[in-house]
Amino acid sequence: MTITVDHVSRRFGAFAALDDVSLEIPGGGLVALLGPSGSGKTTLLRILAGLDRPDSGRVIHDGSDLLDRPARERDVGLVFQHYALFRHLDVFENIAFALRVRKRPRAEVRARVEELLRLIQLDGLDRRMPSQLSGGQRQRVALARALAAAPRILLLDEPFGALDAQVRQELRLWLRRLHDEMHVTTVFVTHDQEEAFEVADQVVIMDRGRIVQVGTPAEVFDHPASDFVLRFLGQVNVLGATVAHGQARVGALSLAAPDLPGDERPARVYVRPHELELALSEGPELAPARVVRLTPLGAALRVEVDAGELGRLQAELDRGRAADLGLRAGQEVWIGFRRARVFAEDGRAAA
């Protein structure tokens, strides 16, 4: 069942946490709300959970306004960043909580909890207390607890934020598999674009209380709607430029910018490290640079170059290509842009 967020606003004093936000969350989908802190993503999640109320707007789900019902009657599951497990209850009773407060029969509770324990791969640990579990195990218990009463919507607030890198990686894949099995409409909040891309079908990018772009991971990465989105989604080289009549100039290099006609004005050119070309000999549209530093990153090699008036730039190329070039620190090279995006200083128009 689709969740329709309809013109929702929420202010805290003078601060607009959500500024007229509208969004469609497809039923059975897995959507990531992605943005820096203060972008409003957690506020939106809390409104969906019923832990906060918007000042205006509606949230339609299954033909009725979710906002008319208090949190306890919404049938949502919520997973917190810091687990929020009940520390006086063991694993079994934590998971059983939603069923106990609904006064379900004992046999049903036992069967459901055992099913969930198998699902989270913690069978046998049902009598452990939360304090005896690792962070990753606690978060799995929190997830099982949220799923116990078969919620219609599953919400996760930075669910892997408090875990170390390796456990986080495992749990992401596991969450994705779990969702593929259960198809419960899931919304999760994160500030980590890698996490959002890896887990979600659809990414909602938020900035200062507004939604700036919605799309699949590939769409938002390849076609960022603004320079904010572009900068937020991974490392990028930013170069000062001028643009006039559909042509941008960066130092001695020029780039096509057909979306920016009109008279000369300042602009910025964005080049991702893997889109920066390195060559050993001079050519058209190449600028001279000197290799400053080489850093191996798995299958890739990061090369920091000093390109004179263009400043220090980061390039990334695969190890094989790097070996062919025989790169070493201090070497003179030539750089060019395989692909670049130009945004006028004042905003949104892109090339």
Binding site: A71, A84, H88, A98, M129
Partner: protein, 276 residues
């Protein structure tokens, strides 16, 4: 091939030796003297002194009023701690500081102040008198004095645990479908129980031994409003040292027994939530 085991924290032997010596000097030695003095009475004489009707009435009053006061403090102290931790309001720091006043005030001063307020001519005593309720010189007055001096114990033991309890716990309970009442009964009360029981035990222990604030408000009528510590004082003033020590020993044994039970209860409720 040394048989000594090496520990990560050195100084265990010295620290334990010091602890035992110190506790013996400060706690055990005076108590042993008490037992020794009573033993010199002989069992029959001891029993006669310890179980006189006047003594029995004083035990009932002392332990009964202390238990009632600790129970009231358990509830009210938890509420005060809740308000101080959970809400932000102007003057909160002042309220927080006020909680410690019963700790700092000489108990005789507390007793005088309470008597003045609660006496039939006092601010609270007068309207109460009009309703036909007398507080001063009754067991109720004694319990009120004990509530006053015991309040900080529950507040100060529950407060840190509450502050440590994330509001998210309650939010989680609500989203999982618990009503407000279910959240209190199933989540908050069990989580706070170990700390609250500790506070209760401290308030209770303090109330049993309280003397200064009670003597003013109780009226000290034998068989009715005479607490055991006061009866001991009366015996001492009459140079009846044997009678005083007999009463003292009874108090000691009963208090120790009750605190032991409370400690076991507390250990049990704590074990239920911490790793073993």
């Amino acid at each position: 091939m040394s048989r000594r085991r090496h520990r990560a924290l050195p100084g265990f032997g010295l620290a334990l030796g010091w602890t035992v010596t110190w506790l013996s000097l400060i706690v055990l030695l005076p108590l042993a003297t008490l037992a020794w003095k009573s033993a010199s009475l002989g069992p029959e004489r001891f029993w006669e002194l310890a179980s006189s009707p006047r003594a029995l009435a004083s035990y009932r009053l002392t332990f009964g009023a202390a238990l009632a006061a600790a129970a009231v403090n358990l509830v009210l102290g938890t509420i005060v701690a809740w308000v101080l931790v959970r809400y932000r309001f102007p003057g909160r720091w002042l309220l927080d500081a006020l909680v410690d006043i019963p700790f700092a005030l000489p108990t005789a001063v507390s007793g005088l102040a309470l008597t003045a307020v609660l006496a039939p001519t006092g601010w609270i005593g007068e309207p109460l008198r009009d309703l036909g309720i007398t507080v001063v010189f009754t067991p109720v007055g004694i319990a009120i004095a004990l509530i006053f001096i015991g309040l900080p114990f529950v507040v100060r033991t529950v407060q840190p645990v509450l502050a440590d309890l994330e509001p998210e716990i309650e939010e989680a309970a609500a989203v999982l479908g618990a009503s407000r009442w279910q959240t209190v009964v199933r989540v908050l009360a069990p989580t706070l129980a170990p700390a609250a029981i500790t506070g209760f035990a401290l308030a209770f222990a303090r109330a049993i031994g309280e003397y200064g604030s009670v003597v003013f408000i109780s009226g000290n009528r034998p068989m009715q409003t005479e607490i055991t510590p006061l009866l001991i004082m009366t015996r001492l003033e009459n140079y009846d040292y044997a009678g005083a020590t007999a009463l003292g020993l009874v108090m000691l044994v009963v208090s120790f027994g009750m605190l032991l039970v409370i400690n076991l209860l507390q250990g049990w409720s704590r074990r239920r939530q911490v790793a073993t």
